[in-house]
Amino acid sequence: MKLSFILLIISLFVLMGCISEVSDDVAPPGAPVFKGEGYRPVYLSIDEMRKVSTEAPQALRRPGKIYVKGSYLFINEQGKGVHLLNNADPAAPQKISFIKIPGNVDIAVKGNLMYADNGRDFVVLNIADPTNVRLVKRIENAFPAQSYPPYLNAYFECVDETKGMVVGWEKVTMKRPKCFR
């Protein structure tokens, strides 16, 4: 009797062990199974985030949204800034410059002015000279903090606000993180 009770307890512990291990691997309801890759927040200090500048043309790495204004073409580099191109001839687009705007996802242009998100700030840039873009206005904290990546069905490392401001996300190999969207 005693022995079977002990066996029962042991088997219960084993089972519980199994269950918790299994539940670590099981995806949340409706979510795909974690395949070893997830998104990790990219943090920046506020000072670093606010460094907006015009740089030489750069390679496309993670192109995001497109914006067209006349023969100018703007291609967002996710979380980094905007590639500015002359697209007068779509068969041969010419890179003009790269506008570094940390945390950038979206832009809109009217006249000589470009409106952009710069992390949590909203900035207005004068692009009359695309090789020397000037900051004309900054509205601080116009946007809410990023608490999840701009993707769905994505596993990601939960945001730790003590590490700074989230300006982007990188896809990396990781152990299954706690957060999912």
């Binding site: 390679a59 790495r61 497109i66 006349g70 100018y72 687009p93 009217k110 206005k137 116009a142 769905l152």
Partner: protein, 253 residues
């Protein structure tokens, strides 16, 4: 004297004409209008109003003084707003609980006309004439416990009462664009698709560019601009013809 003046005047005009015609560089003039974004955009400019779609509200900035936007009205909505598409006198907002349609004849005070909750959409919307085209990407936040993705066509001729007229399964749709009888849909890693929408309520798949990993697309006067994990592509598009690649800027590591 008059002749000299006249000659000078003609010369001046002529040199201006020459200056203009020889200047082939891209032009950003202070008087020109705003540009065009893709269906994934969260910012949109209509006249002197700049709309920002934040996760839980539509924020309006007045840009009458263009270098100094002033935060004006905002409309609080449910959490999960993602995209904005201005069309004629309306704003179409794609959100995780559906599509919101606003009247923006008063640009600084958009008025909510309807919320189309039949589509549990996480994704963008484009509009042409009386139809809205919406892609829905499956995922827990978008469609609870349903992991199917689809392309939906919604009749918006009655803006207060949008009506689903067609739905068909998709793989992993992101941005989309519409021009005339052609509808372009980004399918993420699954390529780029072209539909014939001669009958808008019945899009017919015409072409799939399997290798073109696509995220955002803008069709603009016969040139299709596409971004995605493979880079930036431009195609010539014409009714009834296959896409013709014009240029590509590849991704570099």
């Amino acid at each position: 004297m008059k002749k000299v003046l006249y000659a000078t005047f003609v010369a001046a005009i002529w040199s201006l004409v020459l200056a203009c015609s020889t200047d082939k560089s891209a032009d950003i003039s202070p008087n020109s209008q705003s540009g065009v974004g893709g269906s994934m955009a969260r910012f949109a400019i209509v006249g002197n109003a700049l709309y920002c779609v934040l996760p839980d509200k539509l924020q309006v900035y007045d840009i009458s003084a263009p270098d100094s936007p002033v935060a004006k009205n905002y409309v609080m909505l449910n959490v999960g707003l993602e995209t904005i598409f201005p069309y004629k006198d309306n704003l179409f907002i794609g959100a995780s609980d559906g599509m919101y349609i606003f009247d923006n004849r008063q640009p600084n005070s958009p008025l909510l006309l309807s919320r189309y909750t039949h589509v549990q959409s996480c994704d963008p919307v484009v509009v042409q004439e009386k139809y809205a085209y919406v892609t829905l990407r499956g995922g827990v936040n978008c469609r609870q416990f349903i992991s199917l993705s689809s392309l939906d066509v919604v009749d918006v001729s009655d803006l207060k009462n949008p009506r689903l007229v067609h739905t068909q399964p998709m793989e992993s749709p992101y941005g989309l664009g519409v021009d005339g009888t052609q509808l372009f849909v980004c399918e993420g890693d699954n390529g780029l698709k072209v539909f014939d929408i001669s009958k808008p309520e019945q899009p017919v798949l015409k072409e799939t560019l399997k290798d073109v990993k696509s995220f955002d697309v803008v069709p603009l006067s016969k040139t299709l601009l596409v971004t995605g994990d493979g880079g930036f592509y431009q195609y010539r598009y014409q009714k009834g013809e296959k896409l013709e690649l014009l240029s590509k800027i590849s991704i570099e590591p």
